[in-house]
C-alpha cells in the first residue's frame, strides 16, 4: 500500500461500492429490451419452456434451419426450463423491468388466462395473425390462445382425448371394445365393479384444477363448455348438469374410481394393481402417464375414440396444451417468429415435433398424411394411432378461455367435489359455482 493512506483507500472503496450499487439500481429501474432487429446471420434467442420435449424440438429445428443452404439465420438458442407458472411470472416481471424477457416462451393453456389480464399479452406478445394467415383454415386449435380476436400463441399439441383401456382385462371380463355410448359403458362398469372391484374410469378429488379438468373433458365432449367465443360464461347449462350428474352416478356405482388426480402415486397404484382398467385422457397421457407409470403393462393397453353421450356431442375432447408465443419488439422477434413458423406451421416441423416430443399435428391436413397415418405405437400393442386420432381431429370441440378462468375453477371445485361425494345435486352445484364466480370475478 504505497502512497495511499488506509483512510483514503477505504473512502475510495466506499465510493466505488456505492457507485456500483447505484448503477445496478438504475439499470434495474430503467433498461430496455430494444436494439436493432436481427434480419439475418447470427441470432441469439432465449427460449423458455417447462417441457424438455420442446427443447429437443426447437434445438433440432434451429440446427436444420441454420444448416440449410441459403438459411437466413444462424440460430443460437439458450433454453430456460422452469415450472410453467414461474415462467409467466418471470416474463411479466422482466417485461415490467423492460429487459430480460425471452424471445420465445411456451405458455401452458391453464396459465394463459394470466396473460389475458391487464393487457399483458397485448403488451408483451406478438400478434401472430399474419404469421398463420397462409394456413389459418388448416389450424386446429387457436381459440384458447386468442385475445380479443387476435392469436398470441401457437398450440403445440392438439391434445385429443381418447379412451385408453386394458385390452386383456376387457377380453377377460367380456367387455366389448366398441361400446357406443357412455351410458352403456356406465352400466357395464357398474356391473364390473360389483363383480371384480375394477373401474372403467376415474374422477379427480384432489385440488380444484384436477377436479374440474376431468369434468371439463366430458363437458366439452358433450357439447358444453365454460365460456362461449365472446368470453361469456355458459357453464349453467343442461349439458353441464348432465355431465356432472353422470360422473356422480358413476362414482356411486363404482364405474368410476375417485383418485386425487390422474398423475400421482394413488393413480399409479390403481393402474398397477388393475383396479383402473380404462381412463379418458388426452394423447399425451400415453407417453407422460401410462408409459411412465405402468411400463410393465406394455402391449396391454389400447385406445379408442370416446363413446358418445346419448344426448349428443362429439367423439373426442381435449385437455391441456401449450401455446408458444413470440415476444414482440425485440432484436430477435423476426428470427423467433421464423423459427416458430418453421417448427409449427410446416409439415416438416410438425413431423419433427411428433417424433421428438410426441406432439400431435396441429394442422388438419396432416391427419391424412401417410407418414403420420402409418405410425404404430408399440406400447399400445402396435396400434395405428391415427386410425383413432384422425376421426377425433375431425370431431373435436372448441375450448374458449377467459381471463377469469382461474376464478371459475376455484368456484367450481368445491361444489363439484361435494356432488361427486354424493352430498349435493349436480344442478345445485353448478348454480352455486356460477353464483360464487359472479361474486368473485370482480370487474
Amino acid at each position: 500500500m504505497t502512497g495511499i493512506s488506509r483512510r483514503t483507500f477505504l473512502r475510495r472503496t466506499g465510493m466505488v461500492g456505492g457507485g456500483l450499487l447505484a448503477s445496478a439500481a438504475l439499470t434495474a429501474c430503467g433498461g430496455s429490451s430494444g436494439g436493432q432487429a436481427v434480419s439475418s446471420g447470427k441470432v441469439d434467442l432465449g427460449v423458455w419452456t417447462h417441457d424438455p420435449g420442446y427443447v429437443k424440438t426447437f434445438t433440432e429445428m434451429a440446427k436444420k434451419l441454420t444448416d440449410a443452404p441459403g438459411g437466413k439465420y444462424d440460430y443460437n438458442l439458450k433454453f430456460t426450463q422452469a415450472d410453467s407458472e414461474a415462467l409467466v411470472t418471470r416474463m411479466v416481471s422482466q417485461g415490467a423491468a423492460g429487459t430480460g424477457t425471452p424471445d420465445l416462451i411456451g405458455i401452458v393453456i391453464s396459465v394463459f388466462p394470466r396473460v389475458m389480464n391487464g393487457g399483458i399479452g397485448k403488451q408483451l406478445l406478438l400478434d401472430l395473425d399474419s404469421t398463420i394467415a397462409p394456413v389459418k383454415n388448416d389450424l386446429l386449435r387457436t381459440a384458447p390462445y386468442t385475445i380479443d380476436g387476435k392469436l398470441y400463441a401457437l398450440e403445440s399439441d392438439t391434445c385429443l382425448s381418447v379412451l385408453y383401456f386394458r385390452e386383456d382385462e376387457f377380453k377377460k371380463n367380456g367387455i366389448p371394445e366398441d361400446v357406443g355410448t357412455w351410458e352403456e359403458l356406465a352400466e357395464i362398469g357398474a356391473r364390473l365393479h360389483q363383480k371384480t372391484g375394477q373401474s372403467l374410469g376415474m374422477v379427480s378429488t384432489g385440488d380444484n384444477t384436477s377436479v374440474t379438468n376431468q369434468f371439463l373433458q366430458l363437458l366439452l365432449q358433450r357439447g358444453g363448455g365454460y365460456y362461449d367465443e365472446g368470453g361469456n360464461l355458459i357453464l349453467d347449462s343442461p349439458e353441464a348438469v348432465e355431465v356432472l350428474d353422470f360422473m356422480a352416478k358413476g362414482v356411486a356405482s363404482g364405474f368410476l374410481i375417485s383418485l386425487p388426480d390422474p398423475y400421482g402415486a394413488p393413480n399409479t397404484a390403481a393402474l398397477k394393481n388393475g383396479k383402473l382398467i380404462a381412463t379418458v385422457m388426452p394423447n399425451w397421457y400415453n407417453i407422460y402417464g401410462l408409459q411412465s407409470y405402468v411400463p410393465e403393462q406394455k402391449g396391454k393397453w389400447r385406445m379408442r375414440n370416446l363413446p358418445r353421450f346419448k344426448g349428443g356431442g362429439h367423439i373426442a375432447s381435449a385437455l391441456g396444451g401449450t401455446g408458444f408465443a413470440v415476444l414482440k419488439d425485440k432484436p430477435g422477434t423476426t428470427a423467433a417468429t421464423e423459427l416458430l413458423r418453421q417448427t409449427y406451421l410446416t409439415r416438416e416441423g410438425q413431423l419433427l415435433r411428433f417424433q421428438k416430443g410426441g406432439f400431435l399435428p396441429t394442422l388438419k391436413s396432416l391427419y391424412q398424411d401417410q407418414e403420420f397415418l402409418s405410425t404404430e405405437d408399440e406400447y399400445l400393442g402396435g396400434q395405428r394411432l391415427f386410425d383413432i386420432y384422425t376421426p377425433a381431429s375431425q370431431d373435436s370441440p372448441t375450448f374458449y378461455q377467459n381471463a377469469k378462468l382461474n376464478v371459475l375453477i376455484e368456484a367450481l371445485g368445491g361444489p363439484m367435489l361435494e356432488t361427486l361425494q354424493g352430498k349435493k345435486k349436480a344442478a345445485d352445484a353448478i348454480k352455486e359455482a356460477v353464483a360464487a364466480y359472479n361474486a368473485k370475478k370482480g370487474g
Binding site: G118, G206, I257, G264, A265, K404, V407
Partner: protein, 303 residues
C-alpha cells in the same frame, strides 16, 4: 473536547469531505436495506391502493381493495383457516416438541442420535418428496393411513384430503410432523442449560419426574418457550407450503391460508394490487398478534 477534535484533524482545519466519510462507510448496509427492505415495503403499500396486473401504470383506486377484502368470502375463509393452523401450532406442536425434547434428553437413552436424526429429518426433506409421500399416505383408496386403520380397527374409509374438515386435520398433522423435530432442537439446547443441581434439589425435596418437569423444567425453559412460541406463531401465520403441497387449498377452499390467498391473487390471477392489500392486512395482523404474544410470553425479558 476541542483538544480531541484538534488532535484528530491534525492541522486544526477540518479535512474536506470528512463529514461524509462515516456515511460512506456505512452506506452499503443502508443502500441494500433501502433497496431490498424499505422500497419493497413502500411499493407493496402503494400497490395495495391500486389496480395492477403487473405491467403498465398501476391505477389508483384508493381503499377499494381493502373494502373488497372485507366482503371476500375466500379471504375470510383463509383468515379463519390460518387462525386454526396457528392455534394448532402454538398449542399442539410446541408442547409436543417440548415433550419430545424431554424424552430425547433422558439419561441413558439408547440410540439418541438415531432418534434426533429421525425427528429432524422432515425439516431437510424436499417439499416435493413430502408432497408425494403424504398424498399416498392420505389417499382414501390406497393410503397407508386408511390401510392401517382398516388393519387395526376394521374401518378406514376416511377421505383425508377430500373432506373439508379432514383436509384441515391432514394439513395440521403435516405441520406437526414437519416442524416438531426442528423445534425440539431449541428445547434440547434449553434443557442442556438447566443446572443438574436443581433436579437433585427437587428430588431431595421429594419431587417425582412429573413434578420436576413442571416445577423445574418448564419454568427454566420459559425464555426458550417464549421464543419458540412467538416464532411459531409468526411463522404459522404465514403458512404456505403445507396446504400448497398437500391440497393446493382444497377441497374447494377448505385449507386455503392467507399466504396462499395472496399467492393465488398475485400469481394466478394477476391481481397484484389486491394481493398487496391482503399482504398489508396479513402484516398488520401478524405484527399485532406477534407483539401481543411477545409481551405475553415476556420475550426478550430477563428470567
Amino acid at each position: 473536547m476541542a483538544a480531541v477534535t484538534e488532535r484528530r484533524t491534525g492541522s486544526g482545519a477540518p479535512a474536506r469531505g470528512s463529514g461524509l466519510t462515516p456515511y460512506a462507510f456505512i452506506s452499503p448496509f443502508y443502500l441494500l436495506y433501502g433497496l431490498f427492505m424499505v422500497v419493497p415495503i413502500g411499493v407493496g403499500l402503494y400497490l395495495s391502493f391500486t389496480e395492477w396486473a403487473g405491467l403498465g401504470t398501476p391505477l389508483w383506486i384508493g381503499l377499494d381493495n381493502y373494502t373488497r377484502l372485507l366482503d371476500d368470502g375466500s379471504f375470510r375463509t383463509a383468515v379463519v383457516n390460518t387462525l386454526l393452523y396457528t392455534l394448532f401450532a402454538v398449542f399442539v406442536v410446541v408442547p409436543t416438541a417440548l415433550l419430545v425434547a424431554q424424552a430425547l434428553n433422558a439419561r441413558g437413552l439408547r440410540g439418541r442420535d438415531f432418534f434426533r436424526l429421525t425427528f429432524f429429518m422432515p425439516v431437510v426433506l424436499s417439499p416435493i418428496i413430502i408432497a408425494l409421500v403424504f398424498t399416498l399416505v392420505y389417499d382414501r383408496e390406497f393410503g397407508l393411513l386408511n390401510a392401517a386403520l382398516r388393519g387395526f380397527f376394521g374401518w378406514g374409509g376416511i377421505d383425508w384430503l377430500g373432506e373439508p374438515s379432514w383436509a384441515k386435520v391432514s394439513v395440521m398433522f403435516l405441520v406437526l410432523w414437519r416442524w416438531t423435530g426442528y423445534l425440539t432442537i431449541f428445547f434440547l439446547a434449553g434443557l442442556k442449560n438447566i443446572p443438574r443441581e436443581l433436579y437433585e434439589a427437587a428430588e431431595i425435596d421429594g419431587a417425582g419426574r412429573v413434578r420436576s418437569f413442571f416445577t423445574v423444567t418448564v419454568p427454566m425453559l420459559r425464555p426458550v418457550t417464549a421464543f419458540v412460541a412467538v416464532t411459531v406463531l409468526v411463522g404459522t401465520a404465514q403458512i404456505l407450503e403445507e396446504p400448497m403441497l398437500l391440497t393446493k387449498g382444497g377441497p374447494g377452499e377448505a385449507t386455503l391460508s392467507v399466504a396462499m390467498f395472496i399467492y393465488r391473487e398475485a400469481f394466478t390471477r394477476q391481481q397484484l394490487g389486491y394481493a398487496a392489500a391482503a399482504g398489508v392486512v396479513m402484516f398488520v395482523l401478524v405484527f399485532a398478534v406477534g407483539r401481543a404474544a411477545g409481551s405475553l410470553f415476556g420475550v426478550g425479558k430477563g428470567r
